[in-house]
Symmetry: C2
Subunit: 217 residues, 2 copies
């Protein structure tokens, strides 16, 4: 019986493809269960290899974790900062652009990292420091730049430049964690893109009815 022939052959050698497959599997499981509760045997199985193979590419479980974070975190920030810088819209439009891009970035690849880092920061202080400096503060700085410009041109009122970036991005970030975590338990599905639109409207009008023109499109 050669029933081992139907799958294209186990034990392939694919040195270049492995690392990203492994980190992808690890990200999913770390996010789902937490770092400590995730077994490397499970990560390996999810990546279609065995545990020994992990150690060909990553020297330890902790190193794998760091690789996961750094790999998933680098990309979208630059894209976002660049989009904001090159946009010629007025401040509010620029802000809307950033929020929509953020929602999109969270939606695809890895809005998982924010929750994962939050949960594990206590166990990995240096990594947490890196994350705060390289990701969060850079993101805040983008928004802060827009706000600052808006205040200068009197498009915005004179808001708190230190904390308002967090205030503005919090709903999107939390909505995303929410969806990734409680999605299956919740009555209403949560959609980051929808939250982006709600937040944009809120930034524009607040809760109050628009005094000049009650629009109805």
């Amino acid at each position: 019986m050669d029933e081992h022939r139907d799958q294209p052959s186990r034990r392939q050698r694919r040195k270049d493809a492995r690392p990203s497959e492994i980190t992808a599997a690890a990200l999913r499981l770390f996010h789902e269960r937490g770092f400590a509760a995730t077994k490397l045997d499970d990560v390996a199985a999810a990546a279609g290899v065995t545990k020994g193979t992990l150690y060909l590419y990553f020297p330890s479980k902790e190193a794998l974790f760091k690789a996961v974070v750094q790999e998933s975190v680098i990309p979208n920030i630059d894209r976002l900062a660049q989009a904001a810088a090159s946009s010629t819209e007025p401040p509010l439009g620029k802000l809307a652009l950033v929020l929509r891009l953020l929602a999109q970035g969270l939606n695809e690849s890895d809005g998982c990292i924010s929750k994962l880092m939050l949960a594990e920061a206590g166990n990995f202080p240096e990594l947490a420091q890196f994350y705060v400096d390289e990701v969060v503060h850079r993101l805040h700085d983008v928004v802060r730049g827009i706000l600052s410009e808006g205040i200068a041109t009197q498009s915005f009122r004179n808001i708190d430049l230190v904390h308002t970036p967090r205030l503005i991005m919090a709903p999107l970030l939390l909505a995303n964690m929410w969806r990734n975590t409680y999605g299956s338990f919740d009555r209403y599905p949560v959609d980051p893109a929808h939250y982006a639109e709600l937040q944009i409207a809120m930034l524009q009008h607040g809760l109050l009815p628009s005094p000049q023109e009650p629009r109805h499109d």
Copy 2:
């Protein structure tokens, strides 16, 4: 030599005080390190007992975790709902009241739970379901009631009643998790009460300059 006399005596019998001391210690450590990464020996030490004692009061580590969550979660919701119901303020004032109470509740006792549940929901589905139903949705319902009233009296524009509660509370919740997690790494201290005020102002005005009266107190 009676040098054993200076500490009031180890090995006291305090059957009634133990459980809350244990859950308090457990909450701190679970929140700091995560459930799986927390050793019961450490919880016991932090509570001033030994591991064996834990098992006199809680049948398993998982049972301890559930006790921690349920104990920390029950109180503040009712207080908040009641305050909102008995307030005679206009909708925006009522909303401000709720946000301030929420910030206060997060600040003292246990704003830890929200992060802890977020991190462990995947490993404790029934508990997550309980938390979503009994805590989060009830909180949202309070806010939803206020919004609904505001729309009816035309104090508010016609906002999305399903999602806006989350949108409004997200900044406070996230700011709190932030402070509990990255507080020591962050440049600027995060204060929930301050975020409550920022958020109230944002709900009132949005980002835009107030068209009728540019106030400056």
